[in-house]
């Protein structure tokens, strides 16, 4: 393996990467940003299509949160739906009760989720592997009940949930509400991914990965394991919470039963499918979550009729089988698998 390294031992490729995103990424970003103008005006993409795209991006942010925690810090969470719910409810309640503008709720949702995640991270410090998975599993299962708690009802509206309205584009821009929210979500996502990449390239990021690889060795090297683990839990919750807030805004509705255990599973599946320790993987995962949610029904119906099964298969069966199969064939997810394939093709 002949990798060129610079004087201070950092691989050259890595240093280059740190300077800025490659040209093609800029291209993709510009293309995505132009979609409302191009696709919307020509009628290629309907408003519903933009809603779908926005949801994909939202799930990508949520999955990114879990990837930061699990993929880069080694803490398993089966309960990220809880932070998603907290973010969503923070945004919805602020808009509904205090009539805040939607954009102002995002930083608040981020802050609230950071605090909640940090607090949950404190007991999680003592837990590892399966135990942490168990504690977060309990969290995920308990969330809907928690949201229905009687003393919260005056602002959560109990079982009924909260209806909010999608904001109109400002300054009289010639865009539909869906197109505008798509741009907002895209901008937030780019900002969050940029932050995540810089975080991982920083001292904190290296500490996170050191803890993941060997916590004891990291602490011997002077890394404050407890501090980093709780802070990363907070940051991870922050990401997923912002995604939840965006979801509430573009979906215009929150209710306790939209944050059931299935949501936590979906986020986990997204992270695993995309690639648990890769930022592009988060995008793949986000797209996967939304596509499955949308098309799994149709897909399973087709499979059922194609092989003449006596029972109507359900999407979750396919979900489960895909999950298990993926663990065998591509444990690093689709993004990881493709990267591996690419490296093999280049023969290095």
């Amino acid at each position: 393996m002949a990798t060129t390294t610079t004087a201070n031992g950092i691989p050259a490729a890595k240093r280059l990467r740190a300077i800025g995103p490659p040209v093609w990424l800029w291209g993709v970003i510009v293309l995505l940003a132009l979609l409302p103008v191009v696709g919307g005006k020509t009628g290629l993409i309907s408003n519903y299509g933009f809603l779908q795209l926005s949801l994909m991006i939202v799930y990508a942010i949520a999955v990114l949160g879990l990837i930061l925690l699990t993929g880069f810090n080694g803490q398993i969470s089966l309960g990220h739906g809880a932070f998603f719910a907290v973010g969503a409810y923070t945004a919805a309640v602020l808009i509904d009760q205090a009539s805040w503008p939607y954009w102002a709720t995002l930083p608040v949702a981020a802050a609230v989720c950071f605090v909640v995640g940090y607090l949950f991270g404190l007991p999680a410090l003592r837990l590892e592997g399966h135990y942490l998975a168990l504690a977060t599993f309990a969290l995920a299962v308990a969330v809907p009940q928690f949201l229905k708690y009687r003393h919260f009802e005056w602002f959560t509206n109990g079982v009924q949930g909260i209806n909010i309205f999608k904001p109109d584009p400002p300054f009289g821009l010639p865009l539909s509400a869906d197109q505008w929210m798509y741009l907002v979500v895209l901008a937030v996502a780019i900002f969050m991914f940029w932050l995540a990449r810089n975080l991982l390239d920083s001292r904190t990021g290296r500490a996170m990965m050191a803890i993941r690889d060997h916590a004891m060795a990291a602490s011997t090297m002077g890394v404050n394991v407890a501090h980093y683990k709780t802070v990363v839990f907070g940051i991870s919750a922050l990401y997923t919470g912002v995604a939840g807030a965006l979801h509430a805004i573009i979906f215009e509705f929150v209710s306790p039963d939209s944050f059931r255990f299935e949501l936590s599973i979906a986020i986990l599946v997204g992270a695993v499918v995309g690639g648990i320790a890769s930022l592009p993987g988060a995008v793949v995962g986000g797209v996967f979550v939304q596509v499955i949610e949308k098309y799994a029904d149709a897909l399973t119906k087709q499979i059922t009729s194609a092989v003449h099964l006596p029972i109507d298969l359900e999407p979750w069966t396919i979900y489960g089988i895909a999950l298990i199969a993926l663990m065998y064939t591509m444990p690093m997810g689709i993004a990881g698998g493709l990267a591996l394939l690419w490296r093999r093709l280049r023969g290095s």
């Binding site: 699990t70 399966h130 168990l134 504690a135 308990a142 599973i265 599946v269 029972i311 663990m327």
Partner: protein, 301 residues
């Protein structure tokens, strides 16, 4: 006072179910160090199998052993086919596979039997006896079956060569293998036993909560809580923990209601049962991860 006794009694009955499920969880944890998130759905699936056999006209006492055997084989199959290749995989992979199994069994049950709730007849005769004001025959039956199961397992592990081999494989796989124990098969056996115990738990719980694919979610959480309270490495502890958690759950709801009635302040009630379980799980995990009766594992560097 009478109400209190009634609450404790029905708490014990619920506890019997949690104890059964906790026992199944412990079986897998002891032999493979994994926490089986699919245990609840497996038990639910088994309960549906029993229901199906009853529908076909089998008597309960034939259906239950048959399904328990069938579940045993499913458990062994899962271990041998799905989990075996992942023996050295990171924990995340194993957890994800469990979640996949959960999804598969949940949706399969829904696809085959549908989501309408089904009545499940109690296998125990409806007779009245001393104290039947406090506790129903089905509840007594649940407690009895759970205790019977515990005695059976204790005897199995304590007095049979196979039980000894399983304990050896769990405690020290390398030495056990050197002594001629087929460790791989012992793990599969642990899985099979867990699935069979789960089948019993599912069948016992079905008459109490109605049969449907979602019936196990909250019960599994309490099973976890029970296993953790008692110590997830100790079968006896898990059963004790299950009973403790069951009584605790009912008492908390009872005291919450009492408080609301006397002072009008609502803090906690039946609607917060899962939150109570969550608090129990996190408290035990942070304060005493080994539970009341478990042994502390020392990590080797």
């Amino acid at each position: 006072m009478e109400q209190l006794i009634q609450q404790v009694a029905s708490g014990l009955a619920n506890g019997a179910i949690y104890a059964c499920l906790a026992l199944a969880l412990v079986m897998i944890f002891v032999s493979t160090d994994h926490i089986n998130f699919a245990q609840g759905e497996l038990a639910m699936f088994s309960a549906f199998l029993v229901w199906q056999m009853l529908e076909w006209g089998a008597s309960f006492w034939i259906a239950l052993p048959a399904v328990a055997l069938c579940s045993f084989l499913i458990g062994v199959g899962i271990e041998r086919i799905i989990l075996r290749p992942l023996h050295n995989a990171p924990i995340l992979s194993v957890v994800v596979v469990f979640i996949g199994l959960l999804a598969i069994f949940h949706s399969l049950a829904g696809a085959i039997w549908g989501y309408t709730i089904k009545e499940f007849p109690s296998p125990f005769p409806n007779i009245s006896f001393v104290g039947s004001g406090y506790i129903g025959p089905h509840q007594i039956g649940m407690i009895a079956v759970t205790l019977l199961l515990l005695v059976f397992l204790f005897a199995f592990f304590r007095f049979t060569p196979l039980g000894l081999a399983m304990r050896a494989a769990a405690q020290n796989p390398v030495s056990a293998r050197l002594a001629g124990v087929r460790v791989d098969w012992m793990l599969a056996l642990g899985w099979g036993l867990a699935a069979a115990i789960g089948a019993v738990a599912g069948t016992l719980v079905a008459p109490a909560v109605y049969l449907e694919p979602n019936m196990m979610a909250s019960i599994l959480l309490y099973g976890f809580a029970g296993a953790l309270v008692g110590g997830i490495s100790s079968p006896g502890g898990a059963v004790a923990g299950g009973f403790i958690v069951g009584v605790l759950e009912n008492l908390v709801a009872y005291l919450g209601n009492l408080l609301e009635k006397t002072s009008g302040i609502y803090i906690i009630g039946n609607g917060e049962k899962l939150t109570v379980a969550l608090i129990i799980v996190i408290t035990v995990l942070t304060l005493k991860p080994s539970g009341l009766f478990g042994h502390v594992t020392v990590k080797r560097v």
